[in-house]
Structure formats: C-alpha cells, structure tokens
Symmetry: C2
C-alpha cells in the first residue's frame, strides 16, 4: 500500500483569496479535507469534489486523529486551519499525535495569522519587536499569562492578543488591560480588528485606557502599541526608526 | 485627475506560489511595481508587462517616496516586500511618509512572515505565546534588544529572531545566546531555517548551547523554544497543552 500524506494548511485570515498558491495546490492534490466545521464550509464552495471530515470546536484531538488515521491508511489528507496552523492551530498537535502512529509524511503550509492579517487592516502596528499572547486560560494557567503580559509591557514590546474574550471569560481583556496599565501609559495607542478579511470586518484605534472598557468577542484580535506607536490619519503605526535615523 | 492607489504587498517567504490570491490580484491590477531589487526579479517573471521601479538595500526611504509619488500622481502602484510588509517591512514607513503627501489610498496586503514560514519548515515551534525580536541594531539600541531578550526568556516565551547576523555583526547571535543562557536551560530546543521556501532551504534542530556556536547569516531565521518545546522525530514542536489536558 502506498504511504499517505498529511498536509496541515493555513487558509489565512479571511476568505478564499487569502489562501496562498501553495495551499490551494495542496488541497487540490488531496482526496480528503478535514477541519473545524466553520472553515470547511468555505472549502466546500471552492473544492466541491473533496470528501470532507469535520468535528466541532473543542474536539481538536479527535479531529487530528481522524486526519492522521486517513493518512496512515494511505490517503492524501488536507487538515485545514484558519490563519496559520503554526500559531494556536493544529500543527503542533498533529506532530505530537503522529508520534503514536506509523510514520507518515507531514507537511505544514503556513498561512497569514490573525496578528499579521489584523495588523494590515489597522495600519502597521507590528513594525517593531512584538509578542503574541493568547488570553485563553483553557490550556495555560492565568498566572503564566499574567507574567507574560508584565514582561511584554516592561520590555516595551508591541503586543498582539488572541482570544481576548469568550462567553466564559467576558472580562479577560479588562483584566489584561489592568495589568498592562500598571506598566504602560494609558494613552498608549491600541487597536482592535473584528472579522479580519470576512464580512463585517471592523477596525478601531483607541487608547489603552479606552481599550480597557471596550467589549470584544472571540472574533476580535487586539493590538497594544509600544511607547513609540502613534495614530496617523486613523491608522495605528509603530515606527521602525528609518526616519528617526535620518534626523 | 483620478486618485492613485498604493498597495503594500507581502510576497510571503519563498517563491511565487507563496503569494496569496489577493496579493496576486492586486499586483495584476497595478501599472507599476516597486521594491528591493532582489524580490522584484521574481516578479519580472510572473508579471512581465509591469513597469518596475527598484532601489537597492538600505534605500528604504527613497524606495517608499518613489512609490508614494507615483500613487500621488494618480497611478496604481504595488510596493512589494518579502514575507509580510507589516513585520520589519515597508508598511510602517509608507504610512509615516504618506502623512507628508496629499491623501492617497493605501492598502496593506499581508504575507506569511519569516517566523511563520520558518516555523512550518521546522515543525511547530510557535504553538504557544511567542516573541519576535530583530537582532539588528541599525535602528534600535542594543540595550533595548538585550532587555527584550531577557524579558522573553524570563517569561518563557518562544522566541523568533530576525536578522541574527550580518557582515558587520557576525557575533550577534552568540551575544544573544549568552544573554539567554543566563536565564534558560542550555538544553532548550532551538532551530534555524535558512532560505525559507527558496532554493537551498535548510533547517536544523539543536540545543540552545549548540545554537550559540552555530554560524548563521542574514538569510537565516532562528527559533528558541520555551521550557516545554521538544524535538519529536527531528521536528521542533512546542505543545499547546491539548494532550496534557486529557491526562
């Protein structure tokens, strides 16, 4: 029996046009596409002839085992993720689980992650050293998240926050802002982007003090500037220093 | 006269197949393509009918002014960058300079940055909270870089290093590793990727102690694991915690 192949593919932040040529070609080459229900709907339109395997949210381990088992059985499988599978996506779990199965060829095809996609909508907030932090404490103790927020603030990193809120954690962004406000100016330029690259895309630039009292949901990515970040004509921009060098 | 448009476009880490559909369509719609000489060569092949404007390395301000002036004059211009224009790219500088010109429509189209592209080659190192730090001190004082390295190590972030070395700074990665080794275990799993998505792509997984004595060049992106990062069948993988939760 021929050996299978498992691609772990990032679709980018928004619609089908955000996919890279490599991602598209890899999906085309597969018989089976696996993924979280919501993203797979997008693929049904683009690739109507593929067999589609889905599991709902929170069933990450099941979803990855399903994809691995198909590949181990000799099929070509595309496991798709929104954004980049290598950032809070399925790439790591696939490699961890693959260790339990007979050897199978795995290839990760990166996509544009929400931090990069959201930054492009807001302007250019991530032009200097930055941190990516998830506020979800489902898999990470809150104390660790808190420690990282403080370290990021003290070292003046730009910060991109994933999972800033959920039904069970409506006040986590507020908690995070309170921690940051102890180490950063309340006037620090911040931004939020909701539904990046999707219908209803919405971006807002505000101060850190205002961000604290801004309601956000799980479809929002949050950006907190460093001490140099400015608002320019409604855009959030962190200078890299090219112009300052010329002075 | 009709108003022009300036796209700032990320080509992704490697060849033309790493471009998104949105990036490709935007370039197609433009009359003029501007960029750093090396990346523009790739475009000459893909888009032979475009007028091409180039400036060499280090002429970033000139290059952005050139693109802005064409757009202000009413033309449709694509300013292209390798990777993501929003991460150590031209997006920020374009917005800073645009402030000096008559209003012009600017749109940033993100691409896969070297941290995400390199992570996909190595396995899945960026699955948990991470920092992106450039070791170039051309525009940033070394003391600030040092402070960020220490903060990232102490808060146990995964770290992705851009510009780990250059002709004038052959020992900067060694200096950075010495700082990290004061706060992290020498056995920490690390990785390097050279020529991501290009001819001669090369990835290596090693310990932090080994990384210290590994020569790298300006085409290399470096990854330093957090305390949970492991080597699994030759891949660098940072567990997110899904399997640990099941225990």
């Amino acid at each position: 029996m021929e050996n299978g192949k498992l691609y772990v593919i990032g679709l980018g932040p928004g619609g089908a046009e955000d996919m890279s040529g490599r991602a598209r070609a890899a999906i085309e080459s597969c018989e089976v596409v696996a993924g979280y229900t919501v993203y797979v709907d997008l693929l049904r339109e683009e690739f109507p002839d593929k067999e589609i395997l889905t599991t709902p949210m929170r069933k990450e381990v099941e979803r990855c085992r399903m994809a691995l088992e198909e590949a181990v059985a000799g099929r070509k499988v595309a496991m798709v993720c929104s954004g980049d599978p290598g950032v809070y996506g399925m790439a790591g779990l696939i490699y961890e689980l693959a260790h339990e199965y007979p050897p199978v060829d795995i290839e990760v095809i990166p996509g544009v992650s929400a931090s990069n996609g959201g930054a492009a909508v807001l302007g250019a907030p991530l032009m200097h050293d930055y941190c990516v932090i998830s506020l979800s404490d489902l898999l990470t103790p809150w104390e660790k998240i808190e420690k990282r927020l403080i370290a990021a603030a003290e070292a003046d990193f730009v910060i991109s926050l994933y999972n800033p809120s959920s039904h069970k954690r409506p006040d986590y962004l507020q908690k995070a802002c309170d921690i940051l406000l102890a180490h950063k100016d309340g006037a620090t330029v911040c931004g939020t982007v909701r539904n990046i690259g999707r219908e209803g895309e919405e971006a807002n630039v505000m101060t850190l003090a205002e961000l604290r009292d801004t309601p956000v949901d799980m479809f929002t990515t949050v950006f907190i500037g460093n001490s140099q970040t400015v608002e320019l004509d409604g855009r959030m921009v962190t200078p890299r220093g090219y112009l300052q060098r010329e002075d």
